[in-house]
């Protein structure tokens, strides 16, 4: 009994060591940028990585904080109307992309995963082909298409092109989800005389909620971070999205590469996503366990 417990303590220790490693690996670059976003520009370009903690030969925490950290970069990005406009733009484009991709994608996935449909294979292959094209290669074709439709430099136009990488993924993953649900669930409902659409809406869709949330989240992040299409299809300033604006960031002081501002802006665009994950993490876990255990 005693031996067992030492072994389990050791295992537990190893386990937590692994957890710590994963935390450091995932978070260090993020924390490093976070730290960089608070450092004065002149200290960013020096190989002293810590703030000047020693003062008059003595260790002085207050001095280090007062002289080694600053809110300047955050002030300067929020004083820039272009950055604020880009934030709003990104929210609209990414949000709408997710809604369209999930809406159309999940009903399509339901048909492919659950309903009798002759062309499942061809449709899935078509969807897959869509994801295979190098984005560089479709760029000029999409550009022509948007011009023809009069959607160049508009939000609906950008949203349409974002479906290229969000729809196939949604359809694929959701088809897997629908397929993995047990058959008995809907059979009972059909016996009671429910219509296929009702079965989808009232029984299957709630069960796939965790899948919807996680694919929606991934689609949102992909759209939020997309660069090439946004750079090419949105040319005037009120239309630009955050990644493009960050990449063209000038900062207040043209004498220095605006590294601090870039880091601050990156933190501002990353934090909402982290919050989204925090909120939906609960839903993913709860929804999944409830669905899986009861089902």
């Amino acid at each position: 009994m005693k031996k067992q417990s030492t072994k389990s303590i050791a295992l537990r220790g190893l386990f937590y060591l692994l957890v710590v490693f994963l935390l450091v690996f995932n978070l260090f670059p993020f924390l490093w940028s976070l730290y960089s976003s608070f450092r004065p520009s002149n200290q960013l370009f020096s190989s002293d990585i810590l703030p000047p903690f020693s003062h008059d030969g003595q260790f002085d925490l207050g001095y280090g904080i007062a002289n080694g950290l600053t809110l300047d970069h955050f002030r300067s990005i929020f004083a820039d109307p272009r950055f604020v406009a880009a934030l709003i733009n990104s929210i609209i484009v990414s949000g709408a992309t997710v809604l369209v991709a999930l809406g159309l994608g999940s009903i399509c996935a339901y048909a492919l995963g659950r309903l009798p449909f002759r062309f499942k294979g061809p449709v899935l292959y078509l969807v897959l082909t869509m994801t295979m094209f190098p984005q560089i290669a479709v760029l000029s074709g999409l550009f022509m298409m948007l011009q023809t439709l009069g959607l160049f430099n508009t939000q609906p136009g950008l949203i349409l092109t974002y479906l290229i990488f969000t729809m196939p993924f949604t359809i694929w993953v959701m088809t897997q989800y629908f397929r993995s649900l047990p058959k008995e669930l809907e059979e009972a409902a059909y016996v009671d005389g429910a219509s296929p659409l009702k079965v989808f809406w009232e029984i299957l869709l709630p069960l796939t909620m965790p899948g919807l949330v996680s694919t929606g989240l991934l689609a949102f992040i992909a759209a939020w971070n997309e660069f090439l299409f946004a750079l090419t299809f949105m040319i005037t300033e009120p239309m630009k999205t955050v990644p493009v604006v960050i990449s063209q960031f000038s900062g207040v002081d043209p004498r220095q590469f605006p590294w601090g501002e870039i880091m601050a802006a990156s933190m501002v665009v990353t934090v909402p996503l982290v919050i989204l994950v925090l909120i939906f993490q609960y839903r993913i876990v709860e929804g999944l366990t409830a669905g899986a255990v009861k089902g």
Binding site: N42, F45, S46, S47, L139, S140, F143, M144, Q147, F152, N153, L231, T232, I235, T236, E237, P238, S247, Q248, F249, S250, P254, R255, Q256, F257, P258
Partner: protein, 429 residues
């Protein structure tokens, strides 16, 4: 956007009348929207240009939308080509690199009809010639550029030198001495010489300078003969290789213009090769190196070599797909006018394209080095863009990939010139 457009329409006549009376010789349509793809916001150029364009809009009663170009020149070219291929009326005026007229020509309005011959004579003839493709004046010179050697006057003095280096050999020797001395004093990150070594157009300019300075020619001569494969060109490349890890950091082969300037601007380098834009940034009052540096011509390759500076610069063109080419041309004329170019030079130290401005006391007062620039510009070496036309991208890529590879130790200078020669011959056959 609509609201401002409407306001523009309502008030335009008043402004127009005023403007007509004062400056404009041509009749303009009132209150149209002009979009200009101008300088990048990285560095000072974009901010400056944006403000000046708005001045024009206010003066003429038009609406101006500024399109910020990507930082990277190649990305900018991609964006331009895409718009041109689609015959897109979305952008009226483009700021194009001095090496692009061959590519841009089919999509440009001939600007000759907006200028008299006498007007055109006031620009550097060489640039106007560069911008004229098969008799069509594709673009108007906006600002010009030439590679310069930046050096730290205080450090030269400290280590007993009175003048900047005359040859690359001297530069290497001086850089080494200063670097060793500064590092001994505890500045471990101090570098002797920084330049643009990254595999892009940046190193193409540097390589063309090195080769020309060693009497190795200009890669392809104006008659279309590929001249790169010669012993002097090999010597020039191998000489640059010898700097890596001795007076230049090893990752200088990943540096673009601003990477090099970052090291320099922090006071961490004795010499730098860069464009004139770094001058006013370095002399700003809160800059660590203010009043501690000067600029000079780039060194010669050996005593028999030449001082070489790559010719750069940007020009303004009107797209033939523009719905209001006359209004767009008016903006171009405004931006290239002597008054605006003078302010450009005084405010952010960019080189005017009108020789007369190099004698202007205010311009020289702010940028003493401009006095030497006329000579530098007259002797500047062009990249082989005219002779290769729309295939310039290929020869440039061959130069920058091979030069970068030489610096990284991936191939010898001899292999590099053979490879560049092959691509050059392919293009010109």
């Amino acid at each position: 956007m609509n609201a401002s457009h409407l306001i523009g329409r309502c008030f335009a006549p008043k402004f127009l009348l005023a403007a007509l009376a004062v400056v404009l010789p041509v009749t303009l349509q009132a209150g149209v929207t002009i979009r200009i793809l101008g300088d990048s916001d990285v560095g000072a150029g974009g901010k400056w240009m944006r403000a000046v364009c708005q001045e024009w809009a206010k003066k003429t009663g038009n609406t101006l939308e500024y399109v910020n170009r990507p930082k990277d020149a190649s990305d900018t070219l991609r964006q331009c080509q895409q718009n041109w291929a689609a015959h897109s009326p979305d952008v009226d005026v483009y700021m194009i690199d001095v090496i692009w007229p061959g590519i841009a020509a089919p999509h440009a309005v001939d600007l000759k009809k907006y200028y008299t011959d006498a007007d055109l004579k006031q620009f550097f003839p060489r640039i106007v010639e560069n911008n004229t493709v098969k008799g069509k004046l594709v673009s108007i010179p906006y600002f010009t550029d030439a590679g310069l050697l930046y050096y730290r006057t205080d450090l030269l003095k400290k280590y007993g030198y009175s003048d900047p280096p005359k040859t690359w050999e001297e530069l290497a020797e001086m850089a080494k001495k200063i670097q060793d001395g500064e590092r001994k004093d505890g500045k471990n990150d101090f570098q002797g010489f920084v330049f643009e070594g990254t595999a892009s157009e940046s190193i193409t300019c540097n390589a063309v300078e090195w080769i020309y300075s060693f009497n190795g020619g200009s890669v392809i001569d104006p008659d279309g003969k590929v001249t790169i494969n010669n012993p002097n060109a090999v010597k020039a490349l191998d000489n640059a290789k010898s700097w890596i890890g001795t007076i230049s950091p090893k990752d200088v082969t990943t540096y673009g213009e601003d990477d090099a300037r970052n090291v320099w601007q922090q006071g961490n380098a004795a010499f730098m090769r860069n464009w004139p834009y770094a001058y006013s940034l370095g002399q700003a009052s809160d800059s660590p190196i203010a009043n501690k540096f000067d600029v000079s011509v780039l060194p010669k390759g050996g005593d028999s070599g030449k001082n070489a500076a790559a010719l750069g610069g940007w020009n303004l063109m009107v797209a033939s797909y523009s719905k209001n080419p006359d209004v767009a041309a008016d903006l171009v004329k405004f931006l290239a006018s002597p008054e605006i170019q003078k302010r450009h030079a005084v405010d952010i130290s960019l080189l005017p394209t009108r020789p007369e401005l190099y004698k202007d006391s205010e311009v020289i007062g702010k940028n003493p080095f401009f006095a030497k620039m006329l000579d530098v510009l007259n002797n500047a070496v062009s990249r082989p863009s005219t002779v290769t036309g729309s295939d310039y991208g290929q020869i440039s890529a061959a130069i920058y990939q091979n030069a970068n590879k030489v610096l990284n130790g991936g191939e010898s200078g001899q292999d590099a010139v053979v490879n560049i020669e092959r691509v050059g011959k392919q293009i010109l056959q």
